[in-house]
Symmetry: D4
Subunit: 164 residues, 8 copies
């Protein structure tokens, strides 16, 4: 799904999470942010998951987005082996409407933060990655800041049009 050197690693616990998580990919695409997307399961591929997190920064990734459901350990475990900001997306499963996923992701102990977005809120995960990259002091950031301002104006225009 990525063309250039990816800046964002978009991972999920299972390919069944993709229908939720693809909204993050689309948001990254809209902002022209190169990313990679993978299934990296905390529970079925624990060593690869640890490895993925440990090497993320040196491979040039600057933000991780991790989606998972139920006892959602992927975002928090990645956050424990990388110094990159990790964005967690609670994926709702068949029962509990994602409340289990949300609490498993957001209630991290002091020392290891996960930037949690809403239940099923993968689009916002992509946008948050864009905001993070845009907050830097470099050329990409300048471009992204401009794009984010235009994005907000578009949101506004569309909402206003509906309200007219």
């Amino acid at each position: 799904m990525s063309q250039g050197k990816p800046l964002v690693g978009l991972v999920m616990g299972s390919d069944s999470d993709w229908p939720v998580m693809q909204a993050a990919a689309e948001a990254l695409d809209e902002f022209g942010i190169d990313f990679e997307a993978d299934v990296v399961s905390a529970h079925r591929m624990p060593l690869e998951m640890i490895d993925y997190g440990r090497k993320a920064a040196e491979r040039g990734l600057r933000v991780l987005i991790a989606g998972a459901g139920g006892a959602a350990h992927l975002p928090g475990m990645l956050a424990s082996v990388t110094e990159l900001p990790v964005i967690g997306v609670p994926v709702p499963l068949k029962t509990l409407d994602g409340m289990d996923s949300l609490l498993s992701i957001v209630q991290m102990p002091a020392g290891v933060p996960v930037a949690t977005v809403s239940i099923g809120g993968a689009r916002n995960a992509g946008l948050l990655a864009a905001r993070i990259l845009a907050s830097a002091d470099d050329q990409l950031a300048s471009r992204l800041r401009q794009s984010l301002r235009e994005f907000a104006q578009n949101l506004n225009r569309q909402a206003s049009a509906k309200g007219a």
Copy 2:
């Protein structure tokens, strides 16, 4: 805390979990089951945690008990790197009464089970370990089965005495 070759590995995410988790140690002691107790944090010692889990079986451990609070990833992550039965104890923290811990431990995806006990139920974790060891077909099991039967009779006698 252990004398002989430990059969149960009792681990917790933080030494602040000990006031809750020591009830597991006491139960194991009552049944004369050798165990070891350690702080093994999923989030602050992820590599050691993985290593602990991977070597648990070959080191002779036969059951793991893991207590953790909040986004409690320790029991599930251990379960993903060992074939031993892992018992999870949800530790209640300052808010939410342990509901976050419970859901983070019990809602594991298909493939990687955690045997979850009640919120703060470390004593039952110890007793469950005893039941598991007692279900085997060996000498220790015979002794433990007998002890468990006596234990149940004692529970019964004490409860009955109160009801008299």
Copy 3:
């Protein structure tokens, strides 16, 4: 559903629980573990239920798996009359998404543990039974340990393949 002398007793409160509980049977089958499956209702067959639990160990069963929904008393009541490890599966009913079943099963008082798995997590109940049998010091255990390791490798391979 079983051929040899059953080692696992798989019971449920109602035959309407079977669509959920059969995943436990399938997991046991995959590991070649002999089991028996029965409807044993705590509320509609209380005496038979007590009797089932009391005789489980002497009949050669080594693990019980009990699924129930709502005010799910079956796992806990069985645990009170046997020294075998009892695995509880919260079955979700029409309302509350299984939260009532989960709390009714997991929140057992000190003295009588139930090894609780996720809401609707019958497959993990079967796998947990396999882990428990595999933790013993006998020939079946050796075989099961090997199977569990292969099982984990398969999980890993499948997850990795999706991530490729």
Copy 4:
């Protein structure tokens, strides 16, 4: 606690439930209803508990009140072995504010009802027993109906006095 032939059996899972449950006893005393109070634990005295329930009616009891906390199985199990009306009192424990007790008591399957009162609502359990006995067509009922009417007038007077 009772003088005459008891009409109400007041039982609880543990003597630690007494500080909550004694309000039921006091209510019964206020109405002059003979009762017996016992610890009858579903989990630590399962056979005695079953026995208690089975013989309750023939011993002359006409209503059972059962209090329990956590995975509160006592009211429902008693209801499964007696045809008497069983009143359940959810006792709040250290965590979850009694929500686990409430759901474990009230969410009974079709066929086996438990008349559940509020969390910690033992006084109302006593009053409900009085209402049940008062709904009969006998002399005790006549007296109780009169007492209940006076009780309601007193409630009213006290509330009105505060409002003056």
Copy 5:
């Protein structure tokens, strides 16, 4: 819906509650208990509701069953104007799965009990009414006690048949 002089008043807040509440009517019919069924809304017919409750006993009713959803005030308000036992049935509406109904019914203040059954548990409300009538010391009670015993045996037979 009733033939003889009704002993049970079955009321609900809205006729949209009937699909849930008719299971109570069916249970009463199975036991040959005469009843009347009405829509009596606490919020849309407050004066009639009060009046219904106040006259229930003198009209010969011996038990009230009241179903309501959301902010379910009907059972509690009836209980405040009658000395009869009132059984409350929480009806689940479009959101919250009946948790609002349950809490609005069960959490009554000391002095005014409501015998609450499970969410949507109208059948059990009917059975509880039968148990209450059967606990009296009269001829109807004798017949009902016998019927309840047979009912329990049937439940048992059916459950056992499934387990065979």
Copy 6:
């Protein structure tokens, strides 16, 4: 507590609600709004409660504020017998943190609204009454609108001072 002809009726289910509800009285006092305060229990004084609601408008009251806890029926029942706006204050009791009170007040059926404020939010109930009176087209309203604007400026000044 009132001097002139009261415009707001401030009622509560029990005088134990006063520590929470007095903040409403204080807010009304700050705005110079005449009010009366009473205990009017839906469950212990049902007829007086109905009567209070029915006569509220003709007695000159223009807004009702009703606080109650647990199965909090007072605000909704008052709303069913008056055409005045009724403001409901969920009072937290010993368990459940007021969640039962909130749901019992806010989840009213279509046709009978209650203007619900936050759990324990009696001060806001008083302020909402002021806003309602201020939205009218009369002299009191003009004065109150001015007072509300000053109140908002004060909130702002105090908050800003803390932020300086």
Copy 7:
């Protein structure tokens, strides 16, 4: 949707809220209350939203109704910039059944009240606006009070008819 000078401003965070919110419009229409309806998003049109709230009173609006879902900030933010009474309608989204919307609207801090109605309870929001307008001391109020009394009688008649 309005003909005369609007007295009620009916706003919502998104036009996807309209299927829920139109019931408020219908209620206002039934009472002949002029209103305006707009999409005013707190998050996508923050400045316009603030502006809408600040000018609402001077434009002649006397009540605001605001519906929003999820982290529903619209009602509370409007309440912070107007002295008008603001009625909040929690709109249920795909997960959590509107519990997030409810808490985000009702749990306002002291100083800034929102009159919250039930989840999805837009019809009651319209009726509450009518009650508020009817509580004033002017001609519209007289007419509305009369209409509200007739409305209550109709509710009663319809409910009674069903109960007949």
Copy 8:
């Protein structure tokens, strides 16, 4: 609280949030990140709040941290008027254990993300800000990445020491 040109704006809805929020300030101090701390209330200072958010980026801030309780609108409203990443800290108030704060902050609609941390998790908010600043491609980022690695090693050492 800041010396150099602040990079992080740390704001809270009320100075009563400071006991929770100061842990964010301490974390920023540990990493030598200049920040400013202010009370900026969404509800009592709405215009200043909007203004704060709109000017944050041009004033040189690169990350905002916002803490709020109850109907916690501050983080989401700031996120709607800035393109900076906004970190939200749910502050627990007297009731509901911060669940209302969490849902009000995390459940943001698509388009306006808030990076939410755990209930009361202000320390993690500070650490997340450090991670975000460290993910940039500049000198500060290099230094911070190094500091974050040392921080993780310290966490590890301390945890390991406890486990020794």
